[in-house]
Subunit: 141 residues, 4 copies
């Protein structure tokens, strides 16, 4: 099972179809996309912060959701308008104020539903700061 | 069980302790806080949008998380540094580009954990656009 | 929006199509089914217990899952083979060794997905012992 | 970080402290426990079945919950009475009527909370049939 979109195509797709995620300053970059996997970086940016210099829950949610979306897109191509139906996130440790990495692995890619998990890590650290599982609905072709 | 913070005190607390949520323009306002309940409004703002004019998942997540936080704060007061440990959200319908309301009800308020549910509605509509349940850890006094 | 199956029809359906849930002794009974709602009783039974006389997590999960299934069946009728895709449950208080009631409310009933929440209560008590939200996939007709 | 309980000790603990899980016939066996991991087998048994010969959701929930509990117990020892506070499960494929394996990995083991994920597989197959994440509350010593 090879991917239908390259990393460059995925970043170009975000640029043209999701310019909103760059509001307030460019931060999200697709770094890798393989069979049923994807890696997305959320560069450190002041707008992601919470009191105490830690990164906010909504910013980590955004990274988890986007990582899952990119992993699906890489598999099925830019034709489909997939939407999140469910996302469950566990916050494990307070992230330091540095880049976060979302590592997504698809657990199932069906005709109607895709399910995946996302590990969220601080750059250069091994411990997870958060972990999410989510489900996307894939519309009929 | 009465609340320890009034609506005015809750909004003032956000102003001084969470100025980040107002980054890019004021949008979140506490509207009500009763025993084990709270209502928070997320005013329509361009930065919450997604392609097609709908409101983004991360923006709805932020509203759910904040509504839960406010309901807890209203009960235990501004002393404690509560943090989200888990949040599960189901996206039900695409919200129109208008204000969203988060209606939170605490299901449990223990010494160490608080659990609640949040219904997210479009202003003036009865159908839910999303529904979340979440858990906060309450640190020892 | 009226229901397509009566309480008697729902119980008869369980009898013929889900005899397994009665393994070890009859315990689950549909008590009510209205528009987008259902109530299912799990009668106290030794096989649901955990050490200390409390009721087990898997037993509460089974009640939550069944309540959701019954609420969907009441709406769409016995024709469809709906399956659980996701279930998230929060355990709030240790239930005493008595009947549990699952009160389900559907939050969305689409063509492909149904989402609902289930409050689980001990008979005769107001406090929730658990709360679940779940998603069923509804196969094409 | 080594484990405090061996596989034999974990199985003996289940025998004496959780005899209920063997009600209706022995089915659950701890197979492995390493640092922050555990593997539990749920042997094929008629009481786990659903119509069509597939394995029921509550049975898979029980396996996920137990795998997580065993992984925690292996780390902290049999002294503590840990209880599930949240469990989220995604059902991915209909399992065939054969043994299921729960592979647990702890994502966080704090003083008050432990969080882990569990992959559920059919024996001899690579595809996941379900995936769960859950949280246990660990009582003060």
């Amino acid at each position: 099972m090879s991917t239908r979109m390259s990393v460059a195509e995925l970043n170009a797709f975000l640029e043209t179809d999701f310019p909103q995620i760059h509001t307030g300053g460019r931060s999200f970059v697709v770094e890798a996309a393989g069979p049923m996997t994807a890696r997305v970086r959320m560069a450190y940016h002041q707008r992601h912060l919470r009191p105490g210099g830690t990164i906010s829950g909504p910013a980590m949610f955004a990274l988890a959701d986007l990582s899952l979306y990119i992993a699906i897109l890489a598999q099925i191509g830019p034709v489909a308008l997939a939407v999140t139906t469910n996302l469950n996130i566990n916050f494990l440790r307070k992230p330091e104020p540095r880049d976060l990495i979302g590592e997504c692995r698809l657990l199932k890619l069906g005709k109607r539903l895709a399910v995946g998990e996302v590990a969220i890590l601080s750059e250069g650290r091994d411990d997870l700061v958060a972990h999410a599982t989510g489900c996307y609905s894939i519309p009929p072709v």
